[in-house]
């Protein structure tokens, strides 16, 4: 029994989500191999070879894998699937894009977004925006799985010394091509990996007002997040969205500012270690999950908090 974990990376750096996926794979029993698909990604493969608990790294290197196109990535994984009992992706935008393609080509079911491994074929996953936790058994011979990264503590990034084996990259599908990318440059930590997250909701009132959260985030070296209501209202970019259909975060400290706490939002942050809520409505549902709440005007409280830190 061996698991194949598909590495998340940008051709230069191995992303943290891979470490959580490896942690989940180790709980499934047997060896853990990591597959790196990319262009000039030998450095990523080397980083993967140092992860705790990884016994082999496969590197499929070629221009057709530079941008993670699902058609090429899925074909590569399916070609290697033969020897594996579990094929494990982090539940990132990329993992969610590729995994179901692999499952369908192998004619097996996929178990999405697992938060616990009960046995090699039985997993827990949230449904209905986390309002229920289903325990599901996957009898198919190969289990295709995506891992909610916040459900598993990352393995150590150093100490391992797995061999790196090159595999031939599959041919380009010719059916899809990469056109471009617009990534906001930011010196802040990545939202889904940050130790502290400061999030704003509709209560912020405008995109301009969102700036007061930046001062707080700077003080705490925090990532910035937003509720769907704030994103829909145009106050914050979509990739800041925390919730059922956005990012799932579980930082040490989550500060919710002007967020009422719709169930879809709670689904994305209620596993945070400590939650602080700042809201003028003392009946707001966010207070029912907050460890510490302050009722009052956020435009007074946030600057006060910045000064007090």
């Amino acid at each position: 029994m061996t698991s194949l974990v598909i590495a998340e990376h940008d051709n230069h750096e191995l992303k943290g989500a891979t470490l959580n996926a490896v942690a989940a794979a180790r709980l499934m029993g047997g060896d853990v191999h990591v597959l790196v698909m990319g262009k000039d990604a030998a450095g990523v493969a080397e980083a993967a070879s140092k992860l705790q608990g990884v016994s082999k790294v496969l590197l499929a290197d070629g221009p057709q894998h530079e941008h993670g196109l699902a058609e090429n990535a899925a074909a590569q994984v399916v070609g290697l699937a033969g020897g594996y009992s579990h094929i494990v992706f982090p539940a990132t935008a990329s993992g969610k894009n590729i995994a179901p393609r692999v499952a369908a080509l192998l004619d097996v079911a996929q178990v999405s977004d697992i938060i616990a491994v009960e046995s090699p074929d039985t997993f827990q996953r949230p449904i209905y925006a986390g309002n229920a936790i289903a325990t599901v058994q996957a009898p198919d011979p190969v289990k295709v799985i995506t891992v909610r990264t916040t459900g598993f503590d990352a393995v150590e990034a150093t100490g391992g010394s797995a061999p790196v084996e090159k595999v031939e990259a599959v041919a380009d599908s010719g059916k899809s091509s990469f056109v471009g990318r617009e990534f906001a440059k930011s010196d802040r930590p990545e939202l889904s990996a940050a130790r502290i997250v400061v999030s704003g909701g509709r209560g912020m009132g405008s995109a301009e007002n969102f700036k007061i959260l930046e001062a707080l985030a700077d003080k705490l070296n925090a990532a910035l997040g937003a509720s769907r209501a704030a994103v829909d209202a145009g106050y914050a970019p979509n990739d800041w969205q925390v919730g059922q259909t956005g990012k799932i975060v579980a930082p040490q400290l989550y500060i919710a500012v002007g967020i009422s706490g719709a169930i879809q939002h709670l689904a994305g942050m209620k596993d945070s270690k400590v939650i602080v809520a700042i809201n003028k409505d003392e009946e707001a549902p966010i207070f029912s999950v907050a460890d510490y709440g302050i009722v009052g005007d956020l435009f007074q409280i946030v600057p006060e908090l910045v000064d007090a830190l």
């Binding site: 369908a104 999405s112 289903a134 059916k175 990739d239």
Partner: protein, 249 residues
């Protein structure tokens, strides 16, 4: 160009579901059901592409119990031209739905299938990608912008860290994200018109598809409850608690 739009009947997004006391599932008896919000965005996008003159016919498809007809009527009221229901009382999992859709695609020969990125009941986020794989078509998931021209779909996707644009050779599968559009409201005259639009019913057996569930749900439980904390009177107390009690800053 013909477009196929699969839509799913789900518990309305405003309903907070309750787990059944025997842990066999969630209680959906007598709760409000609606079209999956992401699928509504898919129907709206198809209608907008038709209004632009790119799309000529919109076929809405659903799979499930007889009441899915209501969901299809909503799609017709939004602007779909006709509808197909694959009727079954078997619990449908994403792979089974993808196989049913594949069979309908082979029959209808659309150039584009557009559907929601995930359903808000099982939160699986699988069906579109699985369908694309089974058909050997390219895919663009989490779309926030769609342009169709010269046999190609140029799709902007919401990915971690920002936006990415890909070009797909048609036929292709596109799954929708929230910001693709804002669906219109259904008007009464359009609801009346929708009643007269054709709605065909088939079964998985008619399509020759085995829809037996693969995954077995052993248990459905309440998530561990988070205990409500305390309200603090001022910022100074908050900072003190965070530093000395929670020790997170």
């Amino acid at each position: 160009m013909k477009v196929l739009v699969p839509v799913k009947r789900v518990v309305d997004y405003n309903v907070k579901v309750r787990v059944k006391s025997d842990q066999s599932g969630v209680d959906i008896a007598n709760v409000k059901m609606s079209m999956n919000p992401f699928d509504e965005i898919a129907v709206e996008e198809a209608v907008r592409q038709k209004e632009k003159g790119v799309v000529t016919e919109i076929v809405a498809v659903s799979a499930g119990v007889a009441q899915c007809q209501e969901t299809l009527r909503t799609a017709l009221a939004l602007g779909a031209d006709r509808a197909i229901l694959v009727e079954t009382s078997v619990e449908l999992q994403p792979l089974a739905v993808a196989k049913l859709l594949k069979s309908l695609v082979e029959k209808e020969q659309p150039q584009l299938v557009i559907l929601g990125k995930q359903a808000i009941d099982d939160d699986a986020n699988q069906t579109g990608q699985m369908l694309a794989a089974l058909l050997g078509w390219p895919q663009a998931t989490f779309a926030s912008k769609l342009e169709i021209a010269d046999g190609k779909a140029t799709v902007t996707r919401e990915v971690d860290g920002g936006l990415e644009t890909v070009a797909l050779v048609l036929p292709a599968v596109v799954t929708t994200d929230l910001r693709l559009n804002e669906p219109r409201y259904v008007t009464l005259p359009n609801i009346m018109k929708a009643k007269k639009k054709p709605l065909e019913t088939v079964t998985p057996e008619d399509l020759g598809v085995d829809v037996t569930p693969r995954l077995k749900t052993l248990k459905v439980a309440e998530p561990p409850a988070r205990k409500a904390g305390i309200k603090v009177p001022d910022v100074a107390t908050l900072v003190d608690k965070l530093k000395n009690e929670a020790k997170v800053i």
